[in-house]
């Protein structure tokens, strides 16, 4: 009888406290799972570096939150959506993972978002690019941190049209990310007064882009835009130079270029590229200090924007758990949405109801070898794109969490 009474009391108490929390950490541990491409084309720009970033966030939070220890585990999804979904499911069902972090590759990210939503667990995405994560596939427990295809398209697309590059041709990676990037950039180009003269879809991943480059070369376009990234972008750019594309007056636009890509291609090949990025390690005092700490533990390699995003997202997540003393998915994300983000990654960042973390983006240009002071000194910042202009406005959102 007394048991029933306690249960009833607890029930009443929890109803009374509804909306705040049940003040508990499940299994007495907060478990963070970093799920990424650890061995393929995206392994350098995210991969182990993202795991390190998550660990640093945990260490900086003191290794425990609300009296419970924090653990970080990681896995390789090999750029396959089904593997990503299976790992996420297994992590949540049997390994008590509370939050799945990073998840590069848009197809994998969308698969994970579906799993975390049904299981009521959190998905903090930094590396995937597709806007679908905060639109048709948005989730009350999903947050998209660093950038998305809309922001990239808007930044680079608009800037280049304004520089006089009106006619565009796309070489697109044939999967969710590439499609989304091409679609968004086309829109941005058209609304800025440009036109799209053609596009071709290349399989992903792909080694040889010469056929597509030849088609682009013959299209009469001012700009050949690569809607791909990582190793694919590296190959495509290398071959574009070989085929004399830049010398003949056509411009190259890399729509998603990571610091590691520039490092791999060298400044001689990349100088002058206009790039939109969510963060650059040399953007201010805080970012430099963090990047120094990161590089020290990463074999001297500076962090990419998405690795920095992982650190920022995990830190903010842990702060939210500390504030409500619970690690239950939706309440934590609700708490995250209520507090602004101020750290080495973003100033006055804010998570909207669709899960989009809105912060300032940067339009940067790759330095020439003469301008660069050494390894990893690659970008000069051209302009700051304020968050409300960088990201898709809520009025255009197709997310059903947004009240229209």
């Amino acid at each position: 009888m007394s048991k029933l009474k306690t249960a009833l009391m607890a029930g009443i108490a929890s109803v009374a406290l509804a909306g705040t929390a049940q003040a508990e950490i499940t299994n007495n541990v907060v478990k963070i799972g970093v799920l990424d491409d650890m061995s393929g084309v995206y392994a350098d720009l995210a991969g182990e570096g993202s795991v390190l970033a998550a660990r640093m966030a945990v260490e900086d939070a003191g290794g425990s939150v609300a009296g419970s220890p924090i653990e970080v585990i990681s896995a390789d999804h090999q750029n396959k959506a089904d593997i990503a979904a299976n790992v996420a499911r297994q992590w949540i069902d049997t390994d008590q993972v509370d939050v799945v972090v990073d998840v590069g590759n848009s197809a994998a990210a969308l698969a994970v978002q579906e799993v975390t939503e049904t299981k009521g667990k959190v998905h903090l995405n930094s590396t995937a690019a597709t806007t679908a994560l905060t639109n048709e596939k948005c989730s009350p427990t999903g947050v998209h941190w660093t950038y998305d295809t809309y922001a990239l398209a808007n930044g680079t697309g608009k800037a280049l049209v304004e520089q006089g590059a009106k006619k565009w041709f796309f070489i697109t990676a044939d999967y969710a990310f590439g499609h989304s990037l091409e679609e968004n950039t086309s829109k941005a180009v058209k609304s800025a007064g440009g036109e799209v003269v053609g596009s071709v879809r290349a399989p992903f991943p792909n080694n040889d882009f010469s056929s597509y480059l030849l088609q682009a070369q013959g299209s009469g376009a001012d700009v050949i835009a690569f809607a791909n990234t990582g190793g694919d972008f590296v190959n495509a750019l290398k071959q574009a130079q070989e085929f004399g594309i830049t010398q003949s007056g056509q411009k190259i636009a890399g729509l998603l270029v990571f610091l590691t890509d520039v490092h791999s291609l060298g400044l001689e090949s990349t100088k002058g590229l206009t790039i939109t990025t969510g963060w650059y390690w040399d953007q201010d005092e805080d970012s430099r200090a963090w990047a120094d700490r990161f590089a020290e533990r990463n074999g001297g390699k500076r962090p990419t924007m998405v690795q920095a995003g992982v650190y920022s997202a995990v830190s903010h997540y842990l702060k939210a758990i500390a504030a409500i003393e619970s690690d239950e998915g939706k309440p934590v994300v609700d708490q995250m949405k209520q507090t602004p983000i101020n750290d080495m990654f973003a100033k006055n960042g804010k998570i909207r109801e669709d899960g989009r973390m809105v912060h300032d983006m940067k339009l940067v240009q790759v330095k020439t070898p003469d301008e660069s002071k050494g390894e990893w000194d690659y970008y000069k910042i051209l302009s700051n794109i304020p968050g409300d202009q960088a990201f898709m406005p809520l009025s255009e959102s197709t997310c059903d969490l947004v009240k229209q």
Binding site: R201, N207, G218
Partner: protein, 295 residues
């Protein structure tokens, strides 16, 4: 202007030429594979890793020893070839009496180890390797801009394939190699050192892969997984040509490069699968491959 299926002639010509260039890589790689399979009966899954090693040795030589492209074209295959000889002497030699499967498993494991090591050391995004000065720039052919380097790739591969074919088919050494495959005991009875012959063949096959790797270094990103992307396609090429057939490997290498190039014009999305579709069809119609002899 003449159109073929809605595609202007110049575009088509350009794509055919590009197909030939890609075919050149397939040909050199599948040639080495066919050679090794023909003489050693080993399905060399580490071939892609040796190709990658060739590119990496060229890059390392440039980075740390200042050895340029032209010397690397000889040095890298030699270095990797010697590595291949060590692998054969140390490991493969123990497997000849066993089922194909063991050789396949060993070389596959070897490929994983080599790739994993380089991934650990150099990461995945690849290393920059500039075009050699004398081959940068290109020629305007009217229907396309042909980079000089790509023209060189075709020439170098053709010469390499032809030379290999001549050695195997027209020299005493080649005759001995062929005889050693047919009947090793008899050849040994004539006083020929068969194990040495086999070792050299493996080393040569591996050196061919490394040669293709150096050819690829200036145009593809030099990264640890560059070989694993290619190896599956090259296996399909060898199967289509007929396992162990040298002529088959070369001809089908170039032919499939062209097929793939054409698919990129008419149906780009299908270009990554077209070779496997062809393989399936060939296997149904002629299971021994186009140039293979039925066992």
């Amino acid at each position: 202007m003449v159109d073929i299926l809605g595609v202007p002639m110049p575009v088509l010509m350009g794509q055919l030429l590009l197909g030939l260039i890609n075919g050149a890589f397939y040909a050199v790689l599948s040639l080495g594979l066919a050679l090794i399979f023909g003489l050693l009966n080993i399905i060399n899954f580490a071939h892609g890793a040796f190709y990658m090693l060739g590119a990496f040795v060229a890059w390392l030589a440039l980075q740390y020893l200042g050895i340029g492209y032209w010397p690397a074209l000889i040095v890298a295959p030699l270095v990797v070839g010697v590595f291949g000889v060590i692998v054969e002497r140390l490991l493969l030699k123990r497997l000849y009496e066993l089922d194909h499967l063991y050789g396949l498993l060993l070389t596959f494991g070897l490929a994983l180890v080599i790739e994993g090591t380089f991934r650990q050391l150099y990461g995945i995004s690849g290393q920059p390797y500039q075009l050699p000065e004398s081959l940068s720039g290109g020629i305007n052919l009217g229907f396309m801009f042909l980079p000089k380097y790509r023209a060189w790739v075709i020439v170098a591969s053709l010469v390499m394939c032809l030379a290999t074919w001549l050695i195997i088919e027209r020299t005493k050494l080649g005759a001995l190699m062929r005889a050693a495959t047919e009947n090793p005991d008899l050849v040994r009875a004539f006083g020929v050192n068969v194990p040495l012959l086999v070792t050299l063949t493996y080393g040569f096959g591996v050196a061919l892969a490394a040669f293709a790797g150096v050819l690829a270094a200036p145009i593809y990103s030099v990264n640890p997984i560059m070989g694993s992307h290619l190896i599956i396609v090259v296996f399909a090429v060898v199967v289509i040509g007929g396992m162990g057939s040298i002529m088959g490997a070369v001809v089908s290498g170039f032919m499939l490069g062209v097929f793939e190039g054409l698919t990129r014009v008419f149906w780009p999305e299908a270009s990554s699968v077209v070779i496997f579709v062809i393989m399936a069809v060939v296997l149904m119609v002629k299971p021994a491959g186009l140039f293979g002899r039925t066992a």
